[in-house]
């Protein structure tokens, strides 16, 4: 009987303290709720994004210069008098320029409660997680036989006392914990009972609706929460109670054999009550990703004073080429510098590949390549040898696929912006600049007469710059985030050195898979 009595008291203590406990959610929560309840404004941006992706895919497909996709046999070279088959095909290159704009996410209304603690700290970001509790009420602590009373007793305290308690307790807690700020406040429970209208709407209620809306708007404007007193109390002094707590925890720390509960306690606080350094760290996360991609390219020429076939032909149509598969893989670090924005940096390995259909010659052939004089800018033909000819059709003896490959290391630096989030899914768009070092590969350049390919790895430019554009969905999987989404990577400068008259601008369209985890 006596045990039951104490048990009930214990339960009441738990209930009382738990009911006093309050925490203020971050703005993200309301924004997510708002987006979920009012999704109509999000759809246009989603549609625009899908349009953008579709447009990029179409542009990529049409601008490959890959007549071979539809006409596998390129007969430009064969149509020359000295070649075997006279079979001309026409390649139509279409250049679509589609401009799409991403509609920005509408700004959400900001909760008026977010400004309540503005005057408590200069650094608002550090104190966005205020925890407000009620406490220090002697009358409550000494409540005897409280078990028989009603639950959720309204608690009333005068405002002056509240203010003092609030400031004092908050200062104390700031001293001991820089993340949460617990303050002792009392509150008046709103006794107003909601009177809900009946389900059947009457004409009078219809009229009252507009009045209610006006009242809501008016009340929202006029209803302001009182800011908490900006007491300038010295925060550096610790109370005797604080010192006791420090000594106690230090003793706990030095204790060799901790009990399970003590370990659980320490672990809990280590996880939940991170200090400023840990909080900064919390914004960081690391990521590994891989992007299988299809590599396309666009060829142009830069010639001056040359009368070669190379100078006068449609170079994309002159070569039987096919997109190749490439891959990008890397690791990086992301830093959430704002609620919806991330800064990204990392190290990435790129493998690019583009295929050319050709045929091997029986013996090396003397040919030439068009180069530009760096001083005068005039083009000239430089002698080279070749073992592959620009002829690929069913009749050739030794068909061969040439691979224009590069191996690259790049340092992508970029930004990602969160367009929306819902439950465990977030939607991002991002862009990055990728200074790139090309450390290997092979290049097969078309000859001045367009009849041969010259293998010349030394013509590859060592340093380049790539731009990446991506959009992805971020799925929360426990402690990890899985990123999946399309990515486009465009190379700013030609693959080849500046003196090579052939200009190649490759781009890759791929699907990125990334795994992110916080530190």
């Amino acid at each position: 009987m006596e045990n039951e009595f104490y048990t009930d008291e214990f339960e009441q203590l738990l209930k009382e303290k738990a009911d006093q406990f309050r925490m203020y959610p971050s703005k993200r929560v309301w924004h997510s709720i708002y987006n979920n309840l009012h999704p109509s404004r999000r759809w246009p941006s989603m549609v625009m994004l899908l349009l953008l992706i579709s447009s990029l895919s179409v542009i990529g497909y049409l601008n490959t210069g890959d007549s071979a996709l539809n006409t596998p046999i390129n007969s430009y070279a064969a149509s020359q008098p000295s070649n075997q088959i006279n079979n001309t095909t026409q390649t139509i290159n279409t250049e679509n320029q589609t401009t799409t704009k991403l509609k920005t996410q509408p700004q959400q209304p900001v909760s008026s409660l977010d400004n309540v603690f503005t005057d408590m700290s200069a650094d608002k970001s550090d104190l966005y997680t205020y925890t407000v509790v009620e406490s220090n009420r002697p009358d409550k602590k000494s409540l005897p036989n409280a078990v028989t009373e009603e639950k959720n007793i309204p608690e009333i305290k005068n405002e002056e006392e509240n203010g003092k308690d609030l400031v004092q307790s908050m200062n104390t807690y700031i001293k001991t914990n820089k993340i949460f700020a617990d303050v002792a406040v009392s509150h008046k429970k709103d006794k107003t009972e909601a009177v809900r209208p009946t389900d059947k709407t009457t004409a009078a209620e219809e009229l009252n609706r507009s009045k209610d809306d006006l009242k809501i708007a008016a009340t929202n404007k006029t209803e302001k929460l009182k800011p908490i007193s900006s007491d300038k109390t010295d925060l550096t002094k610790l109370t005797a109670e604080d010192k006791k707590a420090i000594v106690k925890l230090n003793a706990l720390e030095n204790k060799k054999a901790l009990t399970n509960e003590e370990k659980a306690w320490i672990e809990s606080y280590a996880l939940e009550n991170k200090n400023e350094k840990d909080k900064w760290k919390k914004r960081l996360s690391y990521q590994v990703y891989v992007t299988p991609a299809v590599n396309y390219r666009k060829l142009t020429t830069k010639v001056k004073g040359s009368a070669t076939a190379f100078a006068n032909a449609d170079i994309n149509a002159a070569i039987s080429q096919k997109p190749g598969f490439g891959i990008e893989a890397g690791a990086g670090i992301t830093y959430d510098f704002a609620k919806n924005a991330q800064l990204k940096a990392g190290l990435q390995f790129n493998y690019t590949n583009y295929n050319i259909e050709a045929s091997e010659t029986v013996h090396p052939v003397l040919t030439s390549i068009v180069l530009n004089d760096p001083n005068t800018g005039y083009s000239y033909a430089a002698s080279r040898t070749s073992t592959t000819s620009n002829v690929y059709n069913a009749g050739v003896i030794n068909p061969v696929t040439l691979h224009n490959r590069t191996y690259q290391v790049s340092l992508p630096v970029g930004l990602a912006y969160k367009l929306s989030s819902e439950k465990n899914v977030e939607w991002y768009v991002g862009a990055s600049a990728q200074p790139t070092y090309v450390f290997g590969g092979n290049a097969h350049l078309i000859s001045a007469d367009l009849k041969s390919y010259i293998s010349d790895p030394s013509s590859i430019r060592t340093w380049n710059l790539n731009l990446g554009f991506e959009t992805y969905m971020n799925f929360k999987l426990g402690d990890y985030h899985l990123q999946v989404g399309p990515q486009v990577r465009y190379q700013v400068y030609s693959t080849y050195r500046r003196d090579v008259a052939l200009i190649e601008k490759p781009y890759a369209v791929g699907l990125k898979f990334g795994l992110t985890k916080g530190f």
Binding site: M23, T129, S142, K151, T192, D213, A264, W265, Y269
Partner: protein, 193 residues
């Protein structure tokens, strides 16, 4: 803004009324979620889901009790559903690696009792704290808890007994409550001042 105005606005999907209702009840509801959740982020996710349900089901609210109680019940159910969905009930509390944790001054718990009590509850193993939260704080019966958590009623009772015992030890050791002697009340809690 009165509850009546908020309710009428919410029934018409008025964003201002919804925000007002959210602002009024979210601090307390986040406190509820925090007791069930692993960390603050999870608690906010629970709160988000809970309030979405509140706003989408607000038409089901009959004026038969306090609005806060109705919201609280939805939030608690949401927390339980999320915990069940994540299958975290099977997780065991592994503190074998806790030796490496360095206690710094910043980790020192608040002297505020409510926060301390809540943190002590949260330090319990998941099954214990869930049953304790539901029974002792939310006022659910063991039968209701058994139904909610898909466990036996007897399991709920035994989990609660163990949870209470473990929590009591922690609270006494932390000097948040005094060790109950005969005829001594728990409510003579150690004052933080």
């Amino acid at each position: 803004m009165t509850e009546e105005l908020m309710l009428n606005g919410c029934l018409r999907n008025n964003a201002t009324a919804q925000e007002a209702l959210y602002n009024r009840f979210s601090p307390r509801m986040l406190g509820v979620c925090y007791r069930f959740a692993k960390n603050r982020e999870d608690a906010e996710d629970m709160l988000q889901d809970g309030f979405i349900k509140v706003f989408t089901q607000i038409h089901q609210y009959r004026n038969e009790g306090a609005l806060e109680g109705w919201i609280r019940r939805i939030v608690v159910h949401t927390c339980i559903n999320i915990l069940k969905k994540n299958k975290k009930f099977s997780d065991s509390v592994d503190i074998s690696n806790a030796h490496g944790i360095h206690v710094r001054e910043e980790m020192i718990p608040s002297i505020m009792q409510a926060k301390q009590v809540v943190e002590c509850i949260r330090s319990l193993p998941l099954g214990y704290k869930t049953v304790l939260n539901l029974y002792a704080i939310e006022g659910y019966s063991h039968k209701e808890i058994a139904f909610l958590l898909d466990i036996e009623e007897s399991t709920s009772r035994s989990q609660y007994t163990r949870a209470k015992s473990m929590l009591e030890e922690i609270l006494v050791r932390k000097k948040i409550i005094q060790k109950p002697k005969k005829k001594k009340s728990y409510l003579g809690a150690v004052s933080p001042d």
